[in-house]
Symmetry: C2
Subunit: 531 residues, 2 copies
Amino acid sequence: MGEEKPMELTAGDELSKKALKKQQKEAEKAAKKAERKAQVQMQQDAIDKEDISVGKYGQLNMIQSKEAYKERNFIHVKELNKKLENQTVWLRGRLHTSRAKGKQCFIVLRQQSYTVQGLAAVNEQISKQMIKFISNITKESIIDIEAIIKIVPAIIESCTQKDVEVHIQRIFIVSAAKPQLPLQIEDAARAVNESDDTGLNIKVNQDTRLDNRILDLRTPANQAIFRVEAGVCKLFRDILTAKGFVEIHTPKIISAASEGGANVFTVSYFKGNAYLAQSPQLYKQMAIAADFDKVFTIGAVFRAEDSNTHRHLTEFVGLDLEMAFKYHYHEVIDTIGQMFTELFKGLRDNYADEIAAVHQQYAVEPFKFLDPPLKLEFPQAIELLSEAGVTLGEEDDLSTPDEKLLGKLIKVKYDTDFYILDKYPLAIRPFYTMPDPNNPKASNSYDMFMRGEEIISGAQRIHDPDFLTERAKHHGVDIEKIRSYIDAFRYGCPPHAGGGIGLERVVMLYLGLDNIRKVSMFPRDPKRLTP
Amino acid sequence: MGEEKPMELTAGDELSKKALKKQQKEAEKAAKKAERKAQVQMQQDAIDKEDISVGKYGQLNMIQSKEAYKERNFIHVKELNKKLENQTVWLRGRLHTSRAKGKQCFIVLRQQSYTVQGLAAVNEQISKQMIKFISNITKESIIDIEAIIKIVPAIIESCTQKDVEVHIQRIFIVSAAKPQLPLQIEDAARAVNESDDTGLNIKVNQDTRLDNRILDLRTPANQAIFRVEAGVCKLFRDILTAKGFVEIHTPKIISAASEGGANVFTVSYFKGNAYLAQSPQLYKQMAIAADFDKVFTIGAVFRAEDSNTHRHLTEFVGLDLEMAFKYHYHEVIDTIGQMFTELFKGLRDNYADEIAAVHQQYAVEPFKFLDPPLKLEFPQAIELLSEAGVTLGEEDDLSTPDEKLLGKLIKVKYDTDFYILDKYPLAIRPFYTMPDPNNPKASNSYDMFMRGEEIISGAQRIHDPDFLTERAKHHGVDIEKIRSYIDAFRYGCPPHAGGGIGLERVVMLYLGLDNIRKVSMFPRDPKRLTP
């Protein structure tokens, strides 16, 4: 199980791009060769000229775990501050930028989102050759520096560590970056409405970013986005675990497609076929029928929809939950609503720096929510829309533009970016949705919204096998195909409700981003399977 | 994203079993019809005979969220104790067993793993008809009971709540179970070496269990196993998060199979093909190249191996981690080793009841571990085996029986069920494994074991693109096919190491179980895709 198989290797780019790439590669190869030659020459020069700095700089041998250097006092760039004045420390980071000026060289060293200015100047310890070596290090190379921390007279605006700089004593390249980068981190990190120094205002487009994701992910906003995403998962789990939920794992490979089989990926399974699960719903419900009472699961969910929009992926992460209740599904709505309130509080309180880092690049209004959350019924939404001039029938579903407008109307009226819409029309929900006992046209179902986009859809499920059969027939579903689903309720099953949340949508909408690909580390859509 | 698609529906059983099933179904249908008829008759009788208990028992209407009954004082069966003597409470649970004896009826009510005795006897409140109704409730039906808690004179050995029973005042069926169950919970829950009252000693075989998983999962051991599994995930995440790791999500659908493409499931992806990821390794390494420093991910992993053993699944849950280090991969080994020590402590301290519940059915030696964990080098293992009469060459891999034997030898010598084996021969590890700088036949790689079975395999990865290319060529790997993997290291990448852990194996071996299907809620193997 734990064996590490040779990992998967992405095949690379489309055939049509190959020729171009090859040319680029050759050019780069030549450049690299020249670079190396220069370095070798430089090192030779150093020896020739009785370099006083010999042994204090250079390209390290590949780190192969030969030595541990436990005596080296490494600290993180983010920890550098005035209190450490005159201390000698080791730092490992990337060469973010460098600028040689006569006998001295300024660099910016970056470690994750944190940056500090470094300085080397020719003196009795540091040779001209060493300065030359530093000024030739390629951007994004990983370097080790031994340096003395010094307080600076004037604030350094361009670095996160503003009141200190480090004076380089020794400097070694751990892992050199290619001289040509397919994108510049500064360009990828530039605030949406900001122009650059050159006035060219270079933007990096989405595909270039995604094609070179390992570079793109190094920007402060991206470093922050995926920490917020980890935070959403952590909060979801911690909040539900505290409420007595049990985490389960459900299979992704399933034996039969949903009715119709639309939007399902087919898998070759030994001598037969199988399918990729579009939702863990059946398995969550089986866990409820198996007495787990309250369950959640986080895992990959697959949709073979040819939708090329800002909010659709073919593979995303589902945060799913299901809960038995005593007599009323509002016990479940209230639990989910409370979970979201606690989640939003947790993000606000524990991820303020990350949220600020994202908003520095992508300026948006902070996310607003009420405690307890706003809950409206479907007819109230229809009325709000009607007041705004959009007329819908009582059994019509909301279109995406309707939802967007509704979100704006609700924001104006209630000052919240999160709300719950209860009591959807029965006609527009799946067959297993429990009808409203008091209104034949309504159902015990709900959606929840963030900034006017749906992030969770859920309902009380029918737990009675005979009634489920009746409703399936009413919907024209082939009973034979869903027999094992219906049978899951034949050995006693408590009433229950639940829902499925799209992780990436929650992160995108919480942060106010405009494209779901920004919040999926390696997104999958109908046109993208790499990297 | 969050929309709930109509869920997937398992197609059901093989054709060959259909005829038999149909017969069974018809018999059950007839039985159910008779049952219903009897119930209707009984209710009619009650009315006819001026039943003094009318309204105090019966089949509830399907709970459709019409009323909330917030005034009902529900408590969990596990909370029932002497201190609550004479209190009236509501309970919801399953009818575990019932036994009518003249004018009284004893039941055992089960809620998850907890059981309490219930009693109803004919008196001025309770009619003969009500007793008859209770005695006719089918096993596993979900019922609501209003009852008074009473202390019992003698301990009730057969229930988890031993010093109280409940005197039934009202009783309603919430969800009736079919009269015939494909397996009995008592049989499925019976301790491996225990005989039953009848002396028949009925065991439930693995396939019957899995075919009827929603019933099988209701046993105390299964309720506990999946709580321990949730605990392993929680501890893994909490321990690593505290150590500064970031949770990431990696795609399961990938564009190219690993070299050779063996053991990979193929997916139809719109007009082309894609594959299911056999490991998140490439993506974890890209996250390291993208400055996330320390990452973990929990998710589905797929292996298209036609292995029908006690420890192979075609889909399992991977607990993967990857970590940049400064100079020596032992920084990573130590982190993983410490993670396991903390994990074992966390299980021991926080899941003692669950572990005991599993061991009540499956008796095994408790899991032993050392703090810090035992770390041996590969040649030491070869020597231990050699002393025991098993001769291996210095570049031979350990077979599964070798590993089992080694586990036993180490248990005897060091009294630990967990240990780390470092420095595997280079020849038997994948091309991306960093060679040992001090020994040309060894590598910077390791496996870790629980009860003599491997649960994690890992290594320092080669982070230098040129050396990686050289090693790939040495292994005969087609460089073109792994170009994008190699390219991930061209923009500077810190030295790093990691590993992949099989969740189910950890749970199986920690608990000392004999089959991985016992610890996968809905297992997938070459022969099983349902439920």
